[in-house]
Each structure stands twice: as C-alpha cells, then as structure tokens.
C-alpha cells in the first residue's frame, strides 16, 4: 500500500462529488463510481476513497475493501506509459514469461511497480483476448503482438 500523502485540491474534491452525484450517491453504484474516478484521477489514493465514502454514506473500510479486492483498481499512480504483459494461458505457452523477465530486467522494477522517473509502470493482466497475437504486450492503448524477449528493447525505445 502506498503511504504517499495526497492533498486533494478543492476542485478535485468538487469533481469527486460530481462523479458520486452522477450515480445518485447510491452505495450500490460504488464500483461504477470507482471506475469513473480512476478514469479521471488515474488511481485511487486513500484520500480519494475517504471522499467517496462520505458521499455515498458508507464506511471508508468498505470502500477500501472493494478497491483492494478488484485487481483493476490501483492505489499506486501508474507510469506515464503503463506497460501490461498478458500472462493468460495462450500467451504463457507462447513465452510471455520470458518477455516479462526482460521488461523487469531492463526497467529494474517488479510487477506492480513504477519506474523511479515515473515513466513506465509494469503490470500483468490476464488475457486481452488477442490470443492469435500471443504473446501480447500493451503500452498505454497500443497493443504489440508476437513480442519476443529481443523485441522488448525496441518497444521501450519508442517511448524514449
């Protein structure tokens, strides 16, 4: 869990309230609220969760419980270029692990971490459904297919 203290600006709090309001401040809409919030803020730090809990009239613990339960939600800011390596079965049998190792080695970060310069973050995801292109890597919105460990350098070069 991150211990970075985040000071929310007034307009950010207003934005959060607006998001909650768009879902009628309904506790049952928590997951949709979190999706929308993460889309807007990039991640869900504790301070953001507190505001949401207040607005939806539920405990912070409940919000935190949901945020940490689902892998889609993150409390750590993603890098400027979030890298995801598909480790679904199809990609696994076609060598995704070696590709992942190469990213870890070059960037010197673990899965779930962001590089110190904030440029790249590394994560694994399970199946984007492009199994015909296995192994698959996505950087931001862009998808790279049939990636080999050798090709990792070239992908990273595109973002230098």
């Amino acid at each position: 869990m991150s211990h970075i203290k985040v000071e929310l600006k007034q307009e950010q709090v207003a934005k959060l309230k607006e998001i909650c309001k768009s879902f009628d401040n309904e506790a049952g809409e928590l997951i949709n609220v979190l999706h929308k919030t993460q889309e807007t803020f990039g991640y869900l730090p504790a301070e953001v969760q507190e505001v949401i809990a207040r607005e939806l009239n539920i405990s912070v613990a409940k919000v935190y419980g949901v945020v940490t339960f689902y892998s889609f939600f993150t409390m750590i800011p993603k890098g400027k270029h979030p890298i995801s390596i598909c480790t679904g079965t199809a990609c696994y049998v076609r060598g995704a692990e070696k590709v992942l190792d190469e990213f870890k080695r070059i960037l010197d970060v673990k899965v779930g971490e962001t590089s110190p310069d904030g440029k790249f973050s590394l994560s694994c995801l399970r199946c984007v459904g492009a199994c015909g292109l296995a192994p698959v890597v996505s950087v931001g919105e862009k998808i790279y297919g049939r990636v080999s460990p050798d090709g990792v350098k070239d992908i990273l070069k595109e973002y230098e």
């Binding site: 889609f72 492009a130 292109l133 998808i143």
Partner: protein, 592 residues
C-alpha cells in the same frame, strides 16, 4: 459488392481500423460508393491470420491484410475482378491457395449458431441484425407464446448453460418463473475471466443484439422487466458496442416500455466488473453488481429465489443467450437434432496455444478433439508433436493423446477428468512441461481466490508451494502424495466453484503425466526442458567455432572465451534466459 473487414480486438490490434478507412477513401476516389460497401464486422474467428478481409459475393478470404494492400485489392479485385493471389489463405497441408472461404479446413466442420452473425453483419447497425431475422424471435414469442410455452421450447431444445456448469437453461428459467416477486432480474454473465478464452467477447463485439433479444425473451418468460449485463471492464470494445446496441434497440422500441405494442416492458443496463475471476460465480457476480466485494455465498438460497437485491434472479452466460433467438425461430427439434444425446447444439471454443489456426470456432457437440485440433486447427505449430489440450481453464484439466477420439460434450469431458468450462482450449506441444502448467494455473487461482473460505485461500497456496518446490528440483515423494491428498480435500471442502475446481489442473496432470512429476522429483530433470532450475546451459566444445556471438549477447556476461576458441558458460552467473541459444548459428549450445 461487399467488403467485410474484421473489427474484433485481435484484428484491430493489427490496424484493421486504418484498413477500413483506406478502403473507404480508395472506393470513394474511384467513384464506386454506390456499388461497393465497406462493412466493419465482428470476429471471423480466424484470428491467427488477421486482419481478415472478406469479399462478397465471391466469398474471397484475404488474410494478414495490411493498409498498404488496400489499393491493390481495389484496383485488381474490385475493379478488374482478379483476386489478389498473394493475400489468399494457403492450406498448410498441401500449400494450395484457397480462394473460397468455404473450402478452408478451418470452416468446413463448423456449424455457427451462437456466432451466426459474427463476421457477417455490422454489429453497430441494428438494421443489419433485423435483416438477418433479428428481433423476430421476441416478436414471435410476444405474439404467439405464453411464457410457459416459451420455457417449454427451451427445455425441449436441450440447451445447457454455456458458462461451464452445463445446467439446463429451460429448467433454470422455469424455477425463476415460479418464484413470485414484485421485481425479478435477468442477468447476463459477461465476466469472461478464464485466461485464454474470448468466446463471449467475440459474441458481444460481433453480434450484441442477439444477447439483448434473448435477455428480453428470458424476461418475458420469468416475469422480469429489468436486465443487467455484467461485463468485464477489460473489454472496452464490447462495452462500446453494447452501449450502441442498447441505444438503437430503445430507439426502435425493441427495449423499453410496451415492446412491440405487447404491453411487455423490458430494459437493460450495464454493470462493470473490475478484474476478479471469482465474479464469474453467480453469487459473487451478484454481490459485485451490488457494489460489494465479489465474494460467494452458500447456495441455497439460489439466485432464482434470492439474488440481485434479494429478488429472484436468472443468470445466464453470453453464449447461452446468443443461442436462444435461433432456437425460438427454428424450433426445439432443429436444435436438439445437433449434438450428442445429453449435450445438444454447438459449443464455441477459443482455440489458442501451440496450434496453427488460433481462433474462435463453433462445432457441434460430439466433435472429436482430433477433428478440432488437426482439421479445424490445422495441427500443431512448427510440426511439433501434440501433447495435451487444456479445457475449462484453471478449473479444468488436460486431454491427452488417448482422448483424441473422444466426442467432446459436457459429460465426456468430466469423465476424462476435465470440464467444458466456458470454452477455452489451449493446445500444448512436446516442449510444454505439465508440472509447470499446473503451477501456472495454481498461481492464477492463488491470486484470484477471494479469501473467504480457508480450503481455497490456504490450501491452494500450499499446493502452489509444493509445485514450486517440485519445479525447483526440491520435491520429494511424500510431497507428491500430499499434493494429491490436499487437492482432494480442497475440492471437497471449498465454498464455491472456484475452490471446488481449482485442484483439477493438478489432479489431471498427475493422472496423465505422472512420469513427468517423477522425473522432476527423482531424477531432478524436466523432460520438456522448461524448468529453469533443473537445466544447465553448456557449450559443446566440438561444435563451437568461437564466433563470440553468444558472449556478446549474454545479458549478464556469463560467457567467456577467446575468438575462434570454444567458449564457456559460467553456470553460477547464467540466468538461463536462452539468449545465447537463439544467437548461436552453429547449434553449439545445449540444455542439459
């Protein structure tokens, strides 16, 4: 003339968007807008060779089309009527070019029911769905049948749930219909979390209206006016297409109040998953829809009695729904004439792994694994030997050579120690280590276990640790015994389907490939050469010419040696990445 361009996720990742744009500008430049239509479609299934462009009416099938090929297709095929030979599919068995898609081995054995419109219509245009008999089934039901009669048709058809369990769909509807309540819900489970499976996504991307129509039919049958589609947030394209489809259906009065003047109200909303495999389990899914942690609860009560917000809820999978409208139109007898005695109709499989034709296929129940892998799938990649096919994902098991001629249906797969699951089928060849595969699935389960019950939360972790020791060469015979016993206990004592099936990959690989386990434990060897800890890279001094290619490419400088003299790998430094083997032109490096 129609030009169909695949707009599925796989093909879009290879620039099918810009292919469509190019076609449109090219066609416009030649002034052919009135004669040639460029249509974005759902998945053709043949993802291996994407992006796919299909030309109608002559049924020409172009594979791996690039934006730069567009001008040639227009100039040659569209204008002069000459096929662009170099883009035709080549049959891997005889190297012949195939110009008509129906002669492709990939399609020959398929019957498309759930996928009937995928790759045929534009999923973003409701008119095209209607032109293919879309929304006729709901019209027929509302006009001619009572809810009970409709349920009867579904029951007689023999349709069973395509999400994995295989529960009879008609019976499920009947139970939900009999529970009286002021409000009931129809839920579509589109939380396809099984890694390596993309059936539901392709249906939603390629033919979203068929799911909407079936949900309305279900609503009419059970007495629900509200439908909810629970879909993974990881499927942005499917979400976009569903939103468009719901909007169009509402505009046409096919969803909303008083559908087709019948007095029946039904509307559909979307709920997003957030990346939790356990949410495919229906009680977990319902909790997640309520904005809670997606943890399962004991059944009974079944969702049909007390589900979403405590009301009777009927949950079906995407593929199950997609089959419903056709059954209504063509009749229960037609559907039940396809398939085996207890498994009727067809099943969609996502074929992936070490197979030539990766893609989405739909075959009659009872098709054999041999037909799927060697005829439709075109055999194993790079001429390697078939070793196993994993079905049912992390809940399933593997089928081996001895199962090649078993007809695939719900019951035969269970008898073979696997299960249908949602339809992922991952093919493995001789280079895959089955102990590692079991470990891979356990790693997945450990990560995805919700943690509510102890057998699943703690037991699976222990299984994973034992497997890790075995693949590291530290396993013992007692541990092999413990692996099996613990697996059986977890199966018997877990709360929900996830835990009850999670040891299946372990048990099934132990049953079919026990020798591989023994090799890891007794001989400290990995027969497939996959387990890093059990292998050593060595230079064969006779074959090495001292070209230094390996030493220059070693990422950790573990290789030393003078030019033109045999090199040496320092095993203490070597990280076994395999870079040297790939760079060596003289096959002088081997794994021991």
């Amino acid at each position: 003339m129609h030009l169909l361009v695949c707009g599925g996720t796989g093909c879009r990742a290879s620039a099918s968007d810009s292919i469509i744009e190019k076609f449109k500008t090219e066609i416009a430049a030649k002034g052919l807008e009135n004669d040639v239509q460029v249509i974005l479609t759902g998945c053709f299934g043949f993802c291996e060779k994407g992006p796919i462009v299909k030309v109608l009416p002559d049924n020409t099938f172009y594979t791996q089309v690039k934006p730069e090929d567009v001008a040639e297709i227009v100039a040659e095929h569209v204008i002069k009527g000459r096929k662009v030979n170099r883009l035709l599919y080549i049959d891997p068995t005889n190297q012949e070019k195939i110009s008509d898609a129906k002669h492709m081995g990939f399609y020959r054995k398929q019957i498309r029911i759930a996928l009937r419109n995928c790759g045929v219509i534009n999923p973003e245009n409701v008119d095209e769905y209607i032109a293919r008999d879309g929304y006729h089934a709901i019209g027929k039901v509302l006009k001619e049948y009572t809810p009970a009669q409709t349920i009867d048709i579904i029951k007689k058809s023999g349709l069973r749930g395509r999400g994995g369990g295989g529960f009879p769909t008609g019976l499920k509807w009947e139970i939900a219909s009999k529970n009286a309540a002021d409000q009931k819900y129809v839920v579509c489970n589109a939380d396809e979390g099984d890694p390596g499976a993309f059936m539901d996504r392709s249906v939603l991307e390629g033919d979203p209206h068929s799911v909407l129509e079936a949900m309305a039919i279900c609503g009419y049958c059970i007495g629900a006016t509200q439908g909810v589609i629970y879909i993974r947030a990881e499927y942005p394209l499917a979400i976009t297409r569903l939103k468009i489809a719901i909007k169009q259906a509402r505009e046409y009065g096919l969803l909303g109040k008083d559908i087709m003047g019948s007095g029946f109200d039904f509307d559909i909303t979307l709920r997003y998953g957030a990346g939790a495999f356990v949410c495919g389990e229906e009680t977990s899914l319902i909790h997640s829809m309520e904005g809670l942690r997606g943890e399962p609860t004991n059944k009974p009560p079944f969702p049909a009695e007390s589900g979403y917000l405590g009301k009777p809820t009927n949950v079906n999978n995407v593929e199950t729904f997609a089959s419903v409208p056709v059954i209504i139109l063509k009749g229960a007898d037609w559907f039940s004439s396809i398939g085996t005695e207890k498994s009727k109709g067809t099943k969609v499989f996502a074929l992936a792994g070490k197979i030539n034709n990766v893609g989405l296929i739909e075959v009659p129940m009872g098709t054999t694994l041999r037909e799927v892998i060697f005829e439709i799938g075109g055999g194993i990649k790079n001429g390697k030997k078939f070793k196993a096919a994993q079905t049912g994902g992390p809940s399933g098991g593997c089928l081996t050579e001895k199962h090649l001629d078993t007809p695939i249906d719900f019951d035969n797969l269970i008898a073979a120690g696997s299960m249908m699951g949602s339809g992922g089928m991952i093919v493995m060849d001789e280079d895959d280590c089955m102990v590692s595969i079991a470990k891979f699935f356990l790693e997945f389960t450990v990560e995805e276990s919700c943690g509510k019950c102890a057998p699943c939360r703690i037991g699976n972790k222990r299984l994973y640790e034992i497997l890790e020791r075995i693949t590291n060469g530290e396993g013992t015979m007692e541990e092999l015994e413990r692996l099996r016993n613990l697996s059986l206990v977890i199966k018997d004592t877990s709360l929900c389907g996830l835990g009850q099936t999670s040891p299946n990959p372990v048990l099934s690989t132990m049953d079919n490939f026990y020798n591989e386990y023994l090799a890891h434990v007794n001989d400290k060897k990995c027969p497939a050469g996959q387990c890093k800890s059990l292998m050593k890279y060595v230079v064969e001094p006779e074959a090495c010419v001292g070209c230094t290619a390996c030493a220059r490419n070693c990422p950790v400088n573990a290789i030393s040696g003078e030019r033109k003299k045999p090199h040496l790998i320092d095993t203490a430094i070597c990280i076994k990445c395999g870079a040297c083997i790939e760079k060596c032109k003289f096959n002088a490096i081997s794994i021991k």
